[in-house]
């Protein structure tokens, strides 16, 4: 026979055990929204007023990352600009012509690739931590951990991560890693930056890139639209862009300054941090159950 006292004791013991287990899960909770970032973290500045749309960066990227590519001369094929292109499972970066009517003169191109957000939605989304924000800048991906849920793709405000849908057994999320091994381990510049003939791309500390961008805008206000894309968008990005016109005219998404993870992580941690919510609910339900049982018992005793 289970008395009410036993019930409470058993429930209590079980709850305590569960709570102890939860403490270790709790350790896995910890939003910092970019607070762990290295002050000297790196990034790239794209000066779109310099880009000539030569697409050498695409070639260098494919070469560096083992992606399919033809020989260098194919970069001169301008017909690719006729259709909207986006980074996909076979290319981490593409150069697009955003104003086809204006012809292919300077400053009509945008190089698109992962922006390496400071507080990335994909990293916040990732169920197993396969995507990570390296404190030094790059957003990296570990295919061995990945379960292939593609929540990162849903979350990305730039529509960057692509997926190898046609790989039957070992599909990967495909995106720019800021040439992680090349930059972080070998100390070199990313392949696209190294390749860029007119030097539209600058690699360096994000703080210094912001300085460079501000100086360029200040020194030649006629050449630039006064906005550094990525300085504040979705909480800031490691990749920055400056151009001659507002971003909405360049086929880039206009984004709020709040990083998406701030919304969801505030909710998640509000409910689950310290497991206050679930534990309180458990307690409340236990009390409800006991009092409802007691009431029923009294009623039955009255009948007897």
């Amino acid at each position: 026979m289970v008395s009410r006292r036993d019930f409470l004791k058993i429930t209590g013991t079980a709850a305590t055990t569960a709570a102890a287990g939860l403490v270790s899960v709790d350790a896995a909770l910890g939003a910092d929204h970019g607070k762990h970032l290295d002050p000297d973290r790196v990034g790239v500045l794209t000066d779109l007023t310099i880009c000539i749309g030569c697409r050498r960066c695409e070639w260098a990227c494919a070469e560096q990352n083992g992606l399919p590519h033809g020989d260098l001369s194919q970069c001169d094929d301008a017909s690719v600009f006729e259709h909207m292109r986006r980074p996909d499972a076979e290319s981490f970066t593409v150069v697009i012509l955003y104003d086809a009517t204006a012809g292919t003169e300077n400053s009509k191109f945008v190089k698109v690739q992962c922006m390496h957000c400071e507080d990335p939605a994909c990293v916040s989304a990732c169920i197993v931590g396969a995507l990570e924000k390296d404190p030094r800048g790059p957003v990296t991906y570990d295919a061995w951990e990945c379960i292939g849920c593609r929540y990162c793709m849903v979350a990305c405000p730039f529509q960057i991560p692509a997926y190898e849908y046609h790989n039957k057994l070992t599909p990967k999320v495909m995106k720019c890693t800021l040439c992680f091994e090349r930059t972080m381990e070998e100390g070199r510049r990313p392949a696209c930056v190294d390749m860029c003939p007119p030097e539209a791309l600058v690699y360096g500390k994000r703080s210094e890139l912001l300085e460079i961008a501000r100086n360029r805008i200040r020194n030649d206000p006629g050449r630039y639209h006064n906005h550094i894309y990525g300085e504040h968008e979705v909480g800031g990005t490691s990749w920055l862009m400056i151009g001659d016109r507002p971003i909405e005219e360049m086929d880039l998404p206009v984004l709020p300054e709040q990083a998406p993870p701030v919304i969801t992580e505030t909710i998640q941690h509000g409910i689950f941090k310290g497991f206050t919510g679930p534990v309180m609910l458990f307690g409340l339900l236990s009390v409800l159950m006991k009092s409802a049982g007691d009431r029923r018992k009294e009623k039955e005793d009255d009948h007897v």
Binding site: A125, V128, R150, Q159, N167, L281
Partner: protein, 434 residues
């Protein structure tokens, strides 16, 4: 009629002698396996169709595993999630909410009259979540890595999906534990293994008796755990799309999306209990259990009111109501979701007279089910716009075949289970004089 002490309670062996029995199995006199207790054969014209669809589903599972996601889905970079997530997973979880909502009312609030719906709802939840898990596996590119979610070094507490995955995992275990007493009840004193195994009959019987006793002592813990876990992941499922503020249409994107998911789960849980209860009655040629289902229907308008308030206050508070009057495809979907899935069933169920009529009760509960299913579809697919869309996502025929096949498989297993286990209330001869 509305007196709760008519009918059922008289035969309920709750007081006195039976109190020594475990809580978990103290109501078993009310349920019986259909096998040998019904004139309806397992294979009717309807269930043969379901079986055929289920076989198609199994075939599609094979096709998916052998040929990969790219071959069987219309998913791409723009639309990474399709109907397998929106229907098989998100809607599946919502419609399995009958398990914890009826457990809350019947076991935690101890309303005895509702006990007959607890077992069917528990079975729906158990099978529902099993198929949700199967649905997730189908959608995962590297499904064989799903165990990574359980490895502490890979835990990612910032991810709402991690929270959903963990809770669903634990809750599924809890559901199986909650179902064990039914297995015990079915086989205690009736263990009859074939051939040489017959020697183990005594041992297995002893094991079942031990399990039953033990579970009886701890079942309250699992019942409460089930409710806590459900509240946690039903809401976190809403948090998922809150992470895409620039992609999800403002009619649906809000930071209280998790609250709305939870509130709609409450309402749809009880509606599902009614909906499936009435389908089962019809399928097995019994009169619907109106003395249980009708009072259950009475609770739903309260839950719908709270859900409706959370939707409307939020829309007005964010000034997003303006989109309602654009009458674009999306705003029409929102209107259908709210009017057809909330307002109309609310009005029907509020009426004492209509609630007492099987046809209206069924229609109203079906509308709530439809409304919540449409809400999940809206949030995960229809309200979702990629950053650079050049087409709309339309599920591939193979995606639809797998989804339909899995639902059919679930229905088929459900049917098998009610034939084999004491789930549905035993037929009370002449008890349906009302």
């Amino acid at each position: 009629m509305s007196n709760s002490h008519t009918g059922g309670t008289a035969t309920m062996p709750l007081a006195g002698a039976d109190r020594t029995r475990s809580r978990a199995s103290s109501h078993h006199e009310h349920a019986a396996p259909l096998w040998g207790n019904t004139d309806v054969p397992f294979f009717t014209r309807g269930s043969i169709v379901v079986t055929a669809l289920a076989l198609m589903g199994v075939a599609m599972i094979m096709v998916r595993l052998f040929f990969g996601l790219g071959a069987v889905t219309n998913l791409d970079t723009q639309y990474p999630w399709g109907i397998w997530i929106a229907i098989d997973v998100a809607t599946g979880v919502a419609l399995a909410a009958g398990g914890f909502t009826t457990a809350f009312i019947a076991h935690i609030l101890n309303h005895e009259r509702f006990h007959p719906v607890v077992r069917p709802a528990l079975l729906t939840a158990m099978l529902g979540y099993t198929f949700v898990a199967l649905g997730v596996v189908m959608d995962l590119g590297r499904f064989y890595n799903i165990w990574h979610v359980l490895v502490p070094s890979m835990w990612q507490g910032n991810s709402a999906l991690f929270e959903v995955g963990m809770c669903v995992c634990i809750y599924l275990t809890v559901l199986y534990i909650e179902f064990l007493p039914i297995v015990c009840e079915r086989f205690i004193g009736r263990v009859n293994l074939p051939g040489v195994l017959a020697r183990l009959n005594g041992a297995v019987d002893g094991l079942l008796r031990f399990l039953d006793r033990t579970l009886g002592k701890v079942m309250n813990f699992f019942i409460i755990m089930g409710v806590v876990l459900s509240c946690a992941h039903q809401s976190s499922l809403g948090t998922l799309m809150a992470l895409a503020p620039t992609k999800l249409h403002p009619l649906w994107h809000t930071s209280i999306l998790p609250l709305q998911f939870l509130l709609s789960a409450f309402a749809v849980g009880l509606s599902m209990a009614i909906f499936e209860g009435m389908i089962a009655s019809r399928s097995f040629r019994r009169p619907p259990e109106m003395n249980v289902l009708s009072p259950l229907g009475r609770i739903i308008p309260f839950l719908l009111t709270i859900y409706f308030a959370a939707k409307v206050i939020d829309l007005v508070g964010r000034d997003a109501y303006v989109y309602l009057f654009e009458f674009t495809g999306r705003s029409v979907m929102y209107w259908i979701e709210i009017v057809g899935g909330v307002v109309l069933p609310w009005a029907i169920l509020l009426s004492h007279r209509m609630r007492r009529r099987p046809a209206w009760l069924f229609a109203a509960s079906a509308m709530v089910v439809f409304g919540v299913a449409l809400n999940r579809l809206n949030v995960f697919i229809i309200g979702y716009t990629p950053v650079y869309p050049d087409h709309r996502y339309v599920p591939a025929i193979t995606e639809i075949m797998l989804t339909v096949g899995m639902i059919a498989l679930l229905v088929l297993v459900y049917r098998a289970w009610v034939y084999l286990f004491p789930i549905l209330p035993a037929e009370e001869k002449g008890a349906h004089h009302a």
